[in-house]
């Protein structure tokens, strides 16, 4: 089976004044379809940069990123936008819901941008799975942190992306809400076969994945399988 995501000798170097600061130093990983992979590491180790590059939000300096067979490193900005639209779902630490829209419209916004129109069946499945059916008319300011992250999860998966990239999805949640969100991520992975890459610095959260990649100083230093 071909990996859904593959990076080869991936480098990302930021220019700060006259100094080059490497955030990724030759990262090579394979993520298989249906995998739930956690990436762990201390602050500043390059986890978020890794997520931005493999999600097509930032361009790599060197190396290759193959997402569902598409090489992101050779793509134009608009081509990467198109790829994000159709193949990637993002979940952020700070939920990043649009404050002016209620939960329903925050979720359907992704379908609208996706361009295939509103799919009521998919919407029902996702809203039901994430327990949002009774909260759809509420705006983000009227939802708890856990509920907001569930809406963000729904938005990420409603357009059936090839991969979900979650950046510290429990970083702003209390323990109970964190467990709920992590349980949902696992459920999405198990029930819908959703490929998930999650960044976290919390070992307990990381343990929800099938595999944990450890990063330090812009490199993947260790990969372990969770049993």
């Amino acid at each position: 089976m071909e990996p859904i995501l593959k990076t080869e000798n991936l480098w990302k170097v930021y220019r700060q004044g006259k100094v080059d600061v490497p955030a990724l130093r030759g990262v090579s990983i394979d993520i298989m379809p249906g995998e739930f992979v956690s990436i762990m590491g201390p602050s500043g180790c390059g986890k978020s940069t890794m997520l931005h590059v493999i999600g097509g939000l930032a361009q790599a300096t060197r190396g290759r990123v193959l997402l569902d067979g598409n090489d992101l490193t050779t793509m134009s900005d608009s081509a990467r936008t198109l790829l994000r639209r159709h193949k990637v779902g993002f979940v952020f630490q700070r939920f990043n819901l649009l404050p002016t829209l209620d939960a329903y419209h925050n979720i359907t916004l992704a379908q609208h941008i996706h361009g295939n129109g509103f799919d009521p069946h998919r919407f029902e499945v996702v809203a039901g799975l994430l327990g949002l059916s009774g909260r759809l008319k509420h705006k983000p300011s009227e939802l708890s942190g856990g509920e907001q992250q569930r809406v963000a999860l729904a938005r990420a998966i409603v357009s059936e992306p090839k991969i979900v990239l979650a950046d510290e999805p429990t970083g702003n949640l209390d323990t109970k809400s964190s467990e709920a969100v992590l349980g949902l991520l696992r459920q999405l992975n198990r029930d819908l076969g959703q490929t998930i890459v999650m960044i976290t610095h919390n070992p307990e959260a990381a343990a929800y994945g099938h595999r944990i990649l450890h990063m330090r100083d812009g490199e993947v230093v260790d990969g372990s399988t969770v049993h």
Partner: protein, 365 residues
């Protein structure tokens, strides 16, 4: 979906929305009222000139169609020559003076000749001019200035005694003896315009041809075309004035929309990052910003139209002699100016939003 998002965005900051809409409304009102005021004054003035009832108007060479701005009076003796022309029934010489303090024209008339051309005044109160310092005012002037019969009024730094209040529509609102006005203006035996009544209307062209031979360089105009001549483009500077006012209105709208959308974009940086992460293209983001601007502008246009009618009602209440012409073509034009100006104002913020780096936008605090 996008419509819902735009409406919600607009409603999210009600005060900013209100100020933006109000600014656009003021822009629209400014255009409609300035144009309405100038065209209203011109149309009303033309109507009054037509109301004189003459068939032909003769003015000095190069005189403006706007008589208030005409100088160089002609020798009154010309009237005698004009009266002798075939088909001419009556000639009424009139001396004009522009009263800058009240922004109105005073007609210096010879009562008999003026009556022969116009058919005479319709008196609401009072009688004809009898004494050198007598003045006749029309009913609109009397009502707006609250002037009563028998009252003394100061016009052109001269005190006049109001002896008659007449129906409006005979060329001016104020009428005095021509000899009095000639003395005041230092224009003895001079007239600014000759109104000519033909024995039959269909002789107008023939009489005009006769006058052209008699007075080759003079301005000879048939009065039935007068309204069509009274446009801003025929008055030097008026077209430019209107354009400047419209320009100022557009700049106001442009700057307000620019500022409003610019602050909106800054405030929504993170949201733009989210849209980009979801795969929204640059045109999609530009479309959102410009649609939002269009909505604000359209609300401003509707408000502006309402405000224009309100302003007109207030102006007319305060200054009954004013005519403000609000026309559908200018409402449409003002609306278009506001929307185009607004879209231009939003163009840079929209472009800026579409080019935001998604990673930087998502980490914006």
């Amino acid at each position: 979906m996008i419509r819902h998002m735009i409406v919600q965005n607009v409603l999210h900051r009600p005060l900013r929305t209100l100020i933006t809409v109000l600014a656009v409304a003021i822009e629209v009102t400014l255009v409609i009222i300035v144009v309405g005021l100038t065209s209203g004054l011109l149309a009303e003035s033309a109507k009054r000139i037509e109301g004189v009832g003459a068939d032909i108007m003769v003015q000095p060479p190069s005189a403006s169609v706007f008589m208030a701005f005409s100088g160089a009076p002609m020798p009154i003796a010309i009237a005698g020559k004009l009266e002798q022309l075939e088909y001419v029934q009556a000639v009424a010489p009139v001396l004009l003076q522009f009263n800058s303090t009240g922004l109105e024209i005073v007609y210096g008339i010879q009562q008999d000749s003026f009556k022969a051309v116009t058919g005479g005044f319709v008196f609401h109160e009072g009688h004809d001019l009898e004494q050198p310092n007598d003045i006749i005012v029309d009913d609109v002037y009397s009502k707006s200035k609250k002037i009563k019969l028998g009252q003394t009024v100061k016009i052109l730094e001269h005190e006049f005694h109001v002896v008659g209040i007449v129906e409006h529509g005979k060329g001016a609102r104020l009428f005095v003896f021509m000899s009095t006005l000639q003395d005041m203006a230092g224009a003895r035996d001079k007239a600014s315009v000759f109104f000519i009544k033909c024995d039959r209307t269909d002789h107008t062209v023939a009489v005009m041809d006769e006058i052209r031979q008699l007075l080759p360089r003079y301005e000879i105009r048939p009065l039935k075309d007068f309204i069509s001549l009274m446009t801003s483009s025929n008055l030097p500077g008026l077209g430019a004035f209107i354009n400047v006012m419209i320009g100022i209105a557009v700049v106001i709208g442009f700057l307000v929309i620019f500022l409003s959308m610019y602050t909106t974009i800054i405030e929504r940086t993170r949201e733009i990052g989210v849209l980009k992460a979801l795969g929204a293209s640059k045109p999609y983001i530009v479309q959102i910003i410009l649609s939002e601007t269009t909505l604000l502008c359209l609300a401003g246009v509707v408000g502006g139209i309402g405000l224009s009618y309100l302003m007109r009602a207030i102006f007319i209440k305060l200054f009954p002699t004013l005519t403000i012409l609000i026309t559908a073509p200018w409402i449409l034009r003002a609306g278009l100016i506001a929307v185009v100006g607004g879209l231009l104002g939003a163009a840079y913020p929209a472009w800026m939003a579409s080019r935001k780096d998604p990673v930087e936008a998502l980490s914006y605090e």
